[in-house]
């Protein structure tokens, strides 16, 4: 079965928890394992936090969140219209951060990559950033 949802919310940190819960609720239909749903929640939290802290910073803006699934293939897109990145590979390096003064660990993208099967980042300075993440549920069950 195919299913889609779209959410748009203000770039405020209070919405990080909301985004995680909304995504977990949407994918609950697929009957994921606790570990799978926690992996997705962590990845969403990282992408949404990046959009809020780095994409918009002190500025106002909206974060868009799209979720789809087809069978057990899930896809999550987190998009902002913030500052964007000129060097995406550099920003994705573990421990790289542009805001060490905020005690950012620089592990956001590393976490997304660790907990999702695929992570793709498109960004343009001054235009914004789109993070597309994919994960197939039930991998472990089908292998057994």
């Amino acid at each position: 079965m195919e299913n889609k949802m779209r959410l748009e919310f203000t770039a405020r940190s209070v919405n990080e928890g909301f985004a995680r819960v909304a995504v977990a609720g949407f994918f609950a239909q697929l009957n994921p394992t606790l570990d799978e749903i926690e992996d997705v929640k962590t990845a969403v939290s990282e992408a949404v936090t990046n959009a809020i802290i780095h994409g918009y910073g002190e500025k106002e803006g909206m974060v868009e969140l799209y979720c789809t699934y087809n069978g057990n293939h899930t896809e999550i897109i987190v998009e902002d219209k913030g500052v964007g990145m000129s060097d995406v590979p550099k920003c994705m390096e573990p421990f790289f951060t542009t805001k060490p003064e905020l005690e950012r660990s620089g592990m956001g993208f590393a976490f997304m990559e660790a907990f999702m099967d695929e992570v793709d980042v498109e960004s343009e300075p001054g235009k914004g950033t789109r993070v597309t993440m994919k994960k197939r549920f039930g991998e472990r069950k089908s292998e057994e």
């Binding site: 940190s13 209070v14 990080e16 928890g17 995680r20 570990d35 926690e38 929640k41 962590t42 939290s45 990282e46 936090t49 809020i52 802290i53 905020l102 005690e103 950012r104 660990s105 620089g106 592990m107 956001g108 590393a110 976490f111 660790a114 907990f115």
Partner: protein, 114 residues
């Protein structure tokens, strides 16, 4: 927020919240640092008994406290991690920086002093 902090046998124990993300880390950091300064804390214990979620914002906050206490010759430990928190510690490599015990024990005796 003061309820989060307990003092036992020279340790300050911080009861970590249910969910640790960017939204809550700023206040958590500010309050923890304030208590460390006020009570001259050298030995810090993060208690994760209640914690079900933590992302990399939490990692940044923990590494920051480790560095600060490290400069003054202090120590940091993490106790009562559930399976998810153990995974987060492993994936981030945090377990190499902060000694972890799943039970509420710390080097030199139990946290609760029993």
């Amino acid at each position: 927020m003061e309820d989060m902090f307990q003092f036992k046998n020279g340790y300050m124990i911080v009861e970590m919240p249910k969910e640790i993300d960017h939204h809550c880390t700023e206040e958590l950091r500010r309050e923890t640092d304030r208590m460390i300064e006020m009570h001259h804390v050298r030995k810090l214990v993060f208690d994760f008994s209640r914690t079900e979620f933590m992302d990399s914002s939490g990692i940044g906050m923990l590494i920051g406290r480790c560095k600060n206490l490290g400069y003054s010759g202090g120590s940091v430990q993490a106790v009562c991690l559930n399976d998810r928190m153990q995974k987060i510690f492993m994936v981030s490599g945090l377990h190499k920086l902060i000694p972890v015990t799943t039970e509420q024990e710390i080097a030199g005796g139990r946290v609760d002093g029993e």
